[in-house]
């Protein structure tokens, strides 16, 4: 089908109001604060995303530490159960929507144009808008903490009717903030797709793109497919709460189980949105520091696409205990296990890339290697959870908490850390302080494992999630987890220190900052000037 539109381009259509400002942008650049508010430069917007994400990472981290502090010993010491529930909910929402997703979008903003030889993102003004929606969304979300009745307290999965009939009045604000964050993600995804499909350097085919670009392209398609479903679900919640509909209320002929189906139809692809770009990052870093070409490039692309397609067929494995018919339990069990195949292909390729490589252990490589090992542990506990009959035991226990934190913290978050260390020389022109980065790495690895590994055991022993108090036999595991969380949380201050030091100075980095780095971004100077690839580079296919 062909779509023909008269002139003004879409960008001009959407931003006619500030067209004058955008004009002045080209002639004299706004200075000070306004430079950042009005910027349409992909590098500056990327930086904004990353700084926002870092802020949210600490906010969500503090909430997690409140949770861990309360769980340090059995009994209720610090916070009321009601507030505890608000903390678990806000921690989840902020980490997923405020920290990890914006971090990946920020990395995409910075690196996708550089990696494909484009001068900027395809829709720069839309890019500015999609970033500035985020501070609004999360200010709104955080403001619910001081509202009467408190913040959302129903878990980040906000199951109805807990989140409709029995929810605090602030839920409507929560819905609105999630709508804004969702629109931001959608606009970001449109921009990334438009950039990758249209602005590649002459001569660069799809199968020449770096894997970070590939994984982000597939992630963006996932976002396009499922964020509208999330928007639909929360719109239905909004109507149930405020307009007397009964989508999820059995009293009016609705169905609470329908909520879970709709939520997880969004939710499972969402967890792959949180991990696919991480696969791309690791696929860039491991070949660089093993000084070998990535093993199985094409299979990596196909594996990523298969994971994305399968992610639409597995949602009910989150609902094994809800009373599904046997045939559904079997179907979702098998499709879930099937995902282990393309994921296994990826892990195999990373390890084979390392095989007989000449490996060095710079900070990005340390995080990437930790990612491979620890993400795989999270993958295995996921396989255990996929076994439907066994899941009746694991469901809603700390085993689930251990599983998804293993794939999200040493998975997604470590990959983001690796990416930051990998590309900091390109961003700032300086290498990050090696010794401090190593300290950060080792404290993080020890902290993460101390925090989350004991949760496997407390979960298998039956400790339920989302409860502020627990039986005495779980006391030791929880104390270890809490100490680990404190260590992991505080060691992230080292990361901030490394970044600040790196911005302000340090060992100068050349254009090609890492020995084995091959992609296009290493052909521009370090630090990358504000405008790059204004004349398209000639892409040379590496000889195979």
């Amino acid at each position: 089908m062909a779509f023909h539109f008269p002139k003004p381009t879409p960008q001009q259509n959407t931003t006619t109001a500030d067209a004058g400002l955008a004009d002045s942008h080209h002639h004299e650049r706004p200075r000070g604060l306004m430079r950042w508010v009005l910027t349409t430069n992909h590098k500056e917007i990327g930086t904004l995303y990353l700084l926002f994400s870092l802020t949210m990472f600490f906010v969500g981290g503090i909430f997690a530490l409140v949770v861990r502090a309360e769980l340090f010993q059995p009994g209720l010491q610090l916070v009321e159960p009601e507030f505890f529930n608000q903390m678990t909910t806000m921690h989840g929402l902020i980490m997923v929507f405020g920290a990890v997703m914006p971090a990946f979008v920020g990395l995409a903003n910075w690196m996708v144009p550089l990696q494909i030889g484009a001068p900027d993102m395809a829709l720069p003004r839309l890019n500015n808008f999609s970033f500035w929606l985020l501070p609004v969304a999360f200010t709104l979300l955080l403001s619910t903490l001081i509202m009467p009745g408190g913040a959302p307290n129903f878990g980040w999965t906000f199951y109805a009717p807990l989140s409709t009939t029995y929810a605090p009045p602030s839920t409507t604000f929560f819905i609105f903030s999630l709508h804004l964050a969702g629109i931001s993600s959608i606009l970001g995804a449109i921009n990334i797709i438009a950039t990758i499909l249209n602005l590649r350097a002459p001569g660069m085919r799809m199968m020449d793109m770096p894997l970070f670009v590939w994984t982000w392209l597939i992630t963006a398609f996932l976002l396009i497919a499922v964020m509208p479903v999330l928007a639909g679900v929360i719109t239905m919640m909004l109507m149930d709460i405020n307009f007397g509909t009964s989508f999820f209320s059995a009293a009016g002929g609705g169905d609470p189980v329908l909520f879970q189906h709709l939520f997880w139809f969004f939710g499972h692809p969402e967890v792959y949105i949180l991990i696919l770009p991480a696969f791309g990052i690791v696929s860039a870093i491991i070949p660089t520091f093993a000084r070998k070409r990535l093993f199985g490039y094409a299979s990596m692309v196909y594996a990523t696409a298969s994971i994305a397609i399968l992610s639409f067929l597995v949602w009910a494995h989150h609902m094994f205990a809800v009373g599904l018919p046997l045939v559904a339990e079997l179907f979702f069990m098998y499709t879930t296990m099937l995902i282990a195949v393309p994921t296994g292909v990826k892990v195999f390729n990373w390890i084979t890339t390392l095989f007989r490589g000449s490996i060095t252990f710079e900070p990005p490589m340390l995080f990437a290697l930790a990612f491979v090992v620890l993400f795989t542990i999270g993958g295995f506990s996921g396989l255990m959870l996929a076994i439907a009959p066994a899941d009746f035991q694991y469901h809603d226990t700390y085993f689930v908490v251990a599983h998804f934190h293993y794939v999200l913290v040493p998975g997604a978050v470590f990959a983001i850390m690796a990416a930051v260390y990998y590309w900091l020389p390109k961003w700032t022109g300086h290498y990050p302080h090696e010794r401090l980065a190593q300290v950060h790495f080792w404290l993080s690895v020890i902290g993460v494992n101390l925090t989350f590994f004991p949760m496997h055991f407390s979960g298998l022993a039956g400790m339920p999630r989302r409860i502020p108090d627990y039986a005495l036999q779980f006391a030791d595991f929880n104390m270890v987890s809490s100490l680990g969380a404190l260590l992991y949380g505080t060691s992230q201050l080292v990361f901030v220190l490394v970044v600040i030091k790196c911005v302000r100075g340090g060992k100068k980095a050349p254009a090609k900052a890492w020995d084995g780095a091959e992609d296009l971004e290493w052909s521009v100077p370090s630090p990358a000037p504000l405008h790059t690839f204004e004349t398209p580079p000639h892409f040379e296919r590496p000889a195979h």
Partner: protein, 199 residues
């Protein structure tokens, strides 16, 4: 391989085409999310996997009673917060043959000082029995209106069809009471009830 160079007009046309397509996909997925609500109901009704029963009366199938099997049918009634009613059933359990027509009486009692609207919502367990449960008369098809302290009796006439899977020995029917929001005086309420039925 050729693709548009971004310095040529082709690139901005390409961007525009991509944007239009993604926006169409977005609108489609948003609509799909809402379409899933009726689709889910239809799916559940066709397959019977959610324990949902038909919301309207069905005709009795005249078939020979299967004397060889006895099925235990249990009734569970539950109140809910927000509706000060009691729902009772004359017997908690009956033993029936497939194909046989049965009648069981339920009692609604409003123990509050106010009159209200309420509704009993059914659920069948195991869920694969729900396709084989035919209700001829059921109070659950409509909303009830009870004056303060009023007590009414309402019958359930049902039949388990002969093709009920042989592994099912017990069928449990759960009725949960829910309030229905008609915040009007009784006389007006009857008027609004008519509107409610149309809608």
């Amino acid at each position: 391989m050729t693709q548009p160079n971004r310095n040529e007009p082709g690139a901005s046309n390409g961007v525009r085409r991509t944007v239009v397509r993604t926006v169409v996909a977005l609108a489609g997925m948003f609509a799909f999310a809402f379409a899933l609500v009726p689709l889910y109901d239809v799916f559940c009704e066709v397959t019977g996997i959610n324990g949902k029963t038909k919301n309207s009366a069905q005709a009795i199938i005249h078939e020979e009673v299967d004397e060889s099997r006895m099925i235990t049918v249990q009734f569970i009634t539950r109140g809910s917060s927000g509706l000060p009613w009691e729902l009772d059933v004359e017997t908690r359990q009956v033993r029936v043959h497939p194909g046989q027509t049965n009648e069981v009486n339920f009692t609604f009692y409003n123990r509050s000082d106010n009159s209200n609207w309420g509704r009993a919502v059914p659920s069948v367990s195991p869920s694969n029995a729900s396709l084989h449960l035919r209700k001829v008369t059921c109070f659950c098809f409509e909303e009830q209106y009870l004056q303060a302290g009023e007590r009414i009796e309402a019958p359930l006439v049902f039949q388990l069809t002969r093709d009920l899977p042989p592994e099912i020995k017990t069928v449990t029917l759960v009725y949960t009471l829910y309030p229905v929001a008609h915040e009007n005086e009784p006389l007006q309420a009857q008027v609004t009830a008519g509107k409610g039925d149309e809608a």
